[in-house]
Subunit: 536 residues, 2 copies
């Protein structure tokens, strides 16, 4: 095989160019924001659990007591808000979950949160904590008439230490606001999400958000140094440490990271923020097998080491969906001289543009010499940077345009990741519903696999003509079974919420579930906080 032309051409050009895309730290953020967030569609899950009679029904007496605590309280009970106004809080952004709460409280201080919880606890009123309401599993909306405790007004940055990089801020601070604040000081929030313009950092921590920077900066379990939490009975737990090292007892804060508001309300976080990379690069490759993708991943880690910031992959089915979508929108670009069965995207972020380019050139040359890739393209400017990222980021949107999508977000060991997609195809083929293979008009048009290779996070999109019980029964619970067989997770980053709570048994064993229930009861014996979800 001849050396791929694109790469050969680009590799020689690489060292001479000066990357416009990496001239300032803020440009990165702009680039990311300019890209459309990945919209996620999730089907309506099982029937919602019934309302618990253990919880009181909110009355005007309750409302008046809450208004005395927090002036920023809205309710349909006294017409301070219309039912339509409360819909913003009752419904999720996908318009999939619809709560029936009559009261929204928006406290301005931790003390107000504490008083609200104390009152609700004493009066058996169930409460759903709500941040930016950008979740994908119905975790921040009422299932029935729970009081909504929205943290929008708790939005102050409390302190930032430029020596240690430790930021302390209220839970209701919007992620993008926090990141802009840090950017001005040359630092970066160690988490990036499509929903950054709306989501709250407290919500990010309570859902253990993953996002785009996880490969580089690790999970919030490592970067969060401390939390301030209001417990279900109103007790304020001040665990707002700014210390990187503290070995004086159980690391209680870890329980709240990813607890989805079921055992406490995060009112402030303390987090370690790294320096902002001053240089960014991105390259996309075509490859002939998933084995090749794995090999390139290993090589990328070896050559790029500490500057590797993202490693994403997608299959030819995903790429076909994106190309079709782009063609339909007037785009007609030939990206690769040689297309492949697989594609991967590599992003670097470092402190020295020349060094990063040299490392990337070294990787390109190695991949070429060893014929590990079919072709490759490297971004030459900010437009190309965004355009190459869009090949990966447009997959979910393109799938949505192609039909009704059964969408799964799972996590399995990297080596087993693509096997799940293949098993799914076999299952659908055996069921006689996959298009092709002599079945020209099967209800399933495509099965696309893509995701965060670096994190072992796989997205499977099954594109159907329409949603039918026949199709669903073939997919589920099979998809959960093969995740479980591979010791995977049925929710890599979206959480459990109300949607996946019934399926936890596919990811967690009996002992784990029993321990989780004990922890829930320990912190919230009345079960008032975010009921009907997570662990039920």
């Amino acid at each position: 095989m001849a050396a791929p032309r694109n790469i050969a051409r680009l590799a020689t050009r690489l060292s001479s160019r000066r990357s416009a895309i990496s001239s300032s730290s803020s440009s990165t953020s702009t680039l990311r924001r300019a890209t459309k967030p990945i919209t996620e569609f999730i089907r309506n899950g099982s029937t919602l659990p019934p309302r618990s009679s253990q919880f009181a029904k909110a009355t005007t007496d309750h409302l008046n007591a809450l208004k005395a605590i927090s002036s920023s309280t809205l309710s349909t009970l006294d017409n301070t808000a219309s039912a339509d106004e409360l819909k913003t809080y009752n419904d999720d952004w996908m318009n999939k979950y619809h709560g029936k709460s009559q009261i929204v409280v928006k406290p301005k201080t931790t003390e107000e949160v504490s008083k609200i919880m104390k009152y609700c606890y004493a009066n058996d009123l169930a409460v759903v904590p709500q941040g930016g309401n950008t979740g994908l599993v119905g975790g921040s909306n009422p299932v029935h008439d729970e009081i909504i405790l929205n943290l929008t007004n708790l939005n102050q940055i409390r302190s930032f230490d430029e020596v240690s990089g430790v930021l302390v801020a209220d839970g209701g601070v919007i992620l993008e606001t926090a990141d802009h604040y840090l950017a001005e000081k040359g630092f970066i929030f160690p988490l990036d999400l499509g929903a950054k313009g709306s989501c709250h950092i407290g919500g990010n921590v309570s859902t253990n958000a993953g996002g785009l920077r996880l490969l580089r900066y690790g999970s919030l379990h490592g970067t969060v140094l401390g939390l301030e939490v209001v417990l279900p009975d109103g007790t304020i737990w001040n665990g707002l440490s700014k210390l990187r090292k503290d070995n004086t007892g159980f690391d209680i804060k870890q329980l709240f990271i990813g607890s989805e508001g079921t055992i406490g309300i995060i009112t402030a976080i303390s987090i370690l923020c790294p320096r902002r990379p001053s240089a960014m690069n991105v390259a996309v490759f075509s490859l002939d097998s998933y084995e090749a993708v794995q090999k390139v991943f290993a090589e990328a880690k070896g050559h790029l080491g500490e500057i590797l910031s993202a490693f994403e992959f997608f299959d030819k089915q995903s790429y076909a969906l994106v190309k079709k979508h782009q063609e339909e929108n007037g785009g007609d670009r030939k990206v690769f001289e040689t297309e492949g069965d697989f594609y991967c995207l590599i992003e670097t972020g470092g402190s020295n543009a020349e060094h990063d380019e040299a490392k990337l050139t070294g990787l390109l040359e190695h991949l070429m010499e060893n014929e590990m890739v079919l072709d490759g393209v490297l971004a030459q400017d900010s437009t190309q940077f965004q355009s190459l990222w869009s090949l990966r980021e447009l997959v979910p949107e393109s799938a949505g345009k192609a039909g009704s999508v059964y969408k799964y977000d799972v996590s399995v060991p990297v080596g087993k990741m693509y096997g799940l997609v293949e098993k799914m195809r076999t299952k659908l083929r055996e069921g006689g519903i996959l298009e092709g293979d002599g079945k020209k008009d099967g209800p399933i048009r495509a099965v696309a696999g893509y995701g965060h290779m670096g994190d072992g996070n796989l997205h499977i999109n099954i594109v159907a003509n329409k949603y039918t019980d026949e199709v669903e029964k073939i997919i589920e619970p099979y998809i959960y079974e093969i995740v479980a067989e591979n010791e995977g997770s049925i929710s890599a980053e979206h959480g459990l919420g109300v949607m996946k709570a019934p399926y936890i048994g596919y990811s967690k064993n009996e002992t784990s579930i029993e321990l989780m229930k004990k922890v829930k009861t320990l912190f919230d014996p009345k079960g008032l906080l975010n009921p009907y979800k997570y662990i039920v």
Copy 2:
């Protein structure tokens, strides 16, 4: 001020040299091992708590039952071991803590650990889990006659995935063994300790060990992906996930990280291992103030970014102790042309030697141009690499040679770190016991401050003529008070064990302590596991 000569000379030489020290990944490990581990001396703390009558006294019946479970059981009860042989397990390596256990069980499998715990739980026998027995706070030795469950025989590497970098290994694997195994594959264990030749990775996780690589790779709360734990009642909890992302419930494993064997016995860990850096550099600077150290720390983070692997500091009192110790041992080296009130050590570890040197040169030039340092020295070869590290690593040993040392390991925000040392000096001066200041023969000869600047981890060494009540009463609880005033931790990395358990109130508030007690009771209602320690 003229540009420091050492730096000017070295900076120009820097780009032309080829670092012998960074020629292979294994050399780093060799260098570290060649350096003497930092020996830590800690005074005997408060009186030990009395034996609890709730625990059964071990009999020959118990012994026989345990021997039936695990053939590798030693006891003085049936003379399968002498009291002297059991001392290895009963005493800590500093010979400070002395247990009186008559039974040591050394299971070979997780199932054996489970059966042992099940039996002990049913029979009210208290148990102390023991790894490499290298701790500094008496956490792995019996306080009275607890049965010792030693994990030495549980020492198999279970699997390693070269694509994801995930290692799964038994808790009893020695840290150095794990790291050597990984080195052969081009990976590194994300933790390094002086005790690496003896300590167990299960013990590292259960004590949340910090060590030398924390600045670069973060804490074990971020790198540990899963655990297998035997609970106090013998239940095996398989939480041995290999996934980077899993948002399906409370992250229960986090409770065991740093729990010091009080709620479960870690029988295996799953941990994410990064690629091994192929290049290492080290430089030491003299500076005129602690403010300058902080500025250089910020500059180092900015210039070195992702390759900064250690930032250590020590004051002139520490350096004086080291120089004296070196002179007494025949060393007579002039390191700095201009000495200072403070010193800092910067280590880099990256994937490209030339790039790293260029980044370091850039930092040196910046520090020189802005007159932020008085002088600086850069290692030219492996001997110098080790010799420069020894300036920092010899501080505790040198203090020990100079007198009786009151030794503290605390954590405070970086900006407030050195203020603690100054407050301590003022306190001793006010007490009229600090040498100098018109008191030529005070019992306190020196107060030295040094530590892991990058982690906010300060060591204070107070060198006295001898240990006296008069001196101790002036130091304690004052030292804990000023740590608490600064929202610090009274134990940055050593843990609580039996030594610091009584002082937890200085670092944790009432709510935290109450939550800790609830967690302990939840997992270990009989309080059988590692009693008299941690949270009491």
